[in-house]
């Protein structure tokens, strides 16, 4: 079975719950090498998104993703707002007005999301940002989709790769975002945006099972 608008909305509700549960963890990670608001920012955004979805779930997966994008952009602020917002916006554009998303569409949406983040934030792999989680996730998702995997398989692979990618940020010296001000002192800490990306993908994978 493909991925309907209703299922995408459900998955985003699950993401909101997970973000709320991990709010403090993300704040703590951001306090260490940033300004301590990442968990609060995302929680504010996804809470607003749930309210919006409670009112009305748009008819297509693309429309749901677009609604998520505009909500995140107008509620989150900080670096994460525009970056996650752009990610969802590009994903929405990539899936068009299909009624259901198959594995290829999901992998394509992830790739579009990554391209959006890079277009806005100009970060490369190794800069210690969410890009370090999203890039391997996109590669893993594409290869599973190309070899005939289903949506759940694509997202499971993406989540797995994103978690490893997030972990890989620990020893890195940040070159983008607020953590870059720390120079060498940013090494030894998990990047909060990479962590939230991994959490998000893991939750999407769980919802797709």
């Amino acid at each position: 079975m493909g991925c309907t608008a209703e299922r995408v909305a459900e998955a985003l509700r699950a993401v909101a719950r997970v973000v709320a549960e991990h709010r403090e963890e993300l704040v703590r990670l951001d306090r260490e090498i940033g300004d301590g608001d990442h968990g609060e920012n995302l929680n504010r955004g996804f809470t607003a998104l749930v309210s919006k979805l409670d009112g009305d779930v748009p008819g297509t997966p693309g429309a749901v993703l677009k609604s998520a994008a505009t909500t995140l952009i107008s509620v989150v602020g900080g670096a994460a707002g525009p970056l996650y917002g752009t990610a969802f916006l590009r994903a929405a554009t990539s899936v068009g007005d299909a009624a259901e998303l198959d594995a290829g569409a999901v992998a394509g949406a992830l790739r579009a999301a990554l391209e959006g983040v890079v277009a806005r934030g100009k970060a490369a792999v190794g800069d210690k940002t969410m890009v370090d989680a999203l890039t391997p996730a996109v590669a893993a998702a594409s290869s599973v989709a190309a070899t005939g995997g289903d949506v759940a398989g694509v997202l499971a692979a993406a989540a797995e790769a994103a978690e490893q990618g997030a972990e890989s940020t620990v020893p890195l010296v940040a070159r983008k975002g607020r953590a870059s001000y720390l120079g060498e002192r940013s090494a030894g800490h998990l990047d909060p945006g990479a962590r939230s990306t991994a959490l998000l993908l893991r939750t999407l994978a769980g919802s797709a099972r």
Partner: protein, 333 residues
């Protein structure tokens, strides 16, 4: 965490309510999205000067809204840059037909959100320019960082460009002036004790009893170096020398010296530091022509200070002296 607040989630809106009541003669507050505009906005045919950023740096920016300075400020959540909706609403509310200049502190979040807002405003046919302030010499401006942060120089730039806009300088002129100011202003700060973000509930960093953070940012971002505390006589040069070496400033230069408090440092200590800085500048043959001393760009209750130096010419002196009427800076009106 001890704070005079009700709920961390509503702290900005709650504070804006008090600000609105305290300064009804100067400003109007709009809550969703949150925007503070001067009471007579839009001013016909005047360039709208708009800034904004995370809250927690008060009086920056809302305390600088009013005649001769900002037309609007967009207060984000505490230490979180505002959203494009806020900036767009500010531009819409204040555009008097001459376009808007956005003053953006160089943080990834601020740059991205203002960028989106500028696109949205342009799509509505409002001419918008953006100037990024990145005066913090503590951060290396290189491929390996997000670039220098915008700190104390922002206050000076907002005052000077605000004065020009008030006099009817057009958007091109305001933009050029803003770039000129941004190009010749440099800052550096230090922290003796951390601040606590309401929603975080715990101090942004910890310092030992004998440590200070040199090169601190205004969001409690750790600085570049943790060093033992020292007497003011050796602490002030630790801020001033990197500033002087950077532009560089040298003998014969005329400057504005801005001695800023981070929020939790007594005025007594700021004046003391200011006196030392003036003496050091005099020794180097640099003439301090204007000064500003006080907590104008803060980091909640952080203890610490920053120094900002702006190279002056007659044009800038005159614009600095021009009348201003805001909650936090006021003269001539």
């Amino acid at each position: 965490m001890k704070k005079i607040i009700n709920d961390p989630a509503t702290v900005v809106a709650d504070a804006l309510r008090g600000m609105e009541l305290a300064h009804a003669d100067l400003l109007d507050v709009q809550y969703d999205p949150a925007v503070v505009v001067r009471v007579d906005a839009p001013v016909p045919r005047k360039v709208a000067v708009v800034s904004g950023g995370g809250s927690g740096h008060e009086p920056l920016h809302a305390g600088f809204v009013g005649r001769g300075m900002l037309d609007a400020a967009c207060p984000g959540a505490v230490f979180t840059s505002p959203t494009p909706d806020q900036v767009l609403a500010a531009v819409q509310r204040t555009n008097g037909g001459a376009g808007a200049l956005l003053i953006v502190k160089n943080y990834t979040g601020d740059v991205l959100n203002f960028e989106t807002a500028a696109e949205l405003a342009a799509a509505e046919g409002i001419e918008v320019r953006s100037v990024v302030v990145d005066d913090d010499v503590a951060v290396k401006d290189s491929l390996h960082t997000a670039g220098r942060r915008g700190v104390g120089g922002t206050v000076l730039l907002e005052k000077i460009v605000g004065a020009a806009a008030e006099r009817g300088v057009d958007l091109d002129g305001c933009e050029a002036l803003a770039r000129k100011v941004a190009g010749q202003v440099r800052s550096m700060g230090l922290a003796l004790a951390p601040c606590t973000v309401p929603h975080a509930g715990e101090p942004s960093f910890t310092l030992a009893d004998d440590e200070m953070e040199l090169g601190i940012g205004i969001h409690g971002e750790p600085g570049r170096q943790r060093v033992p505390v020292r007497p003011a006589d050796s602490l002030v040069p630790a801020l001033l020398d990197p500033i002087l070496g950077d532009l560089p400033f040298g003998a014969g230069d005329r400057v504005l010296l801005f001695t800023n408090g981070m929020g939790g440092t007594p005025l007594l200590e700021l004046y003391l530091a200011h006196g030392i800085a003036e003496r050091l500048l005099a020794e180097r043959g640099i003439t301090v022509r204007r000064r500003l001393v006080g907590p104008y760009i803060t980091s909640l209750e952080m203890q610490g200070m920053s120094l900002t130096l702006l190279k002056l010419d007659d044009e800038l002196v005159e614009l600095w002296d021009a009348p201003v009427r805001t909650a936090a800076l006021r003269w001539g009106l």
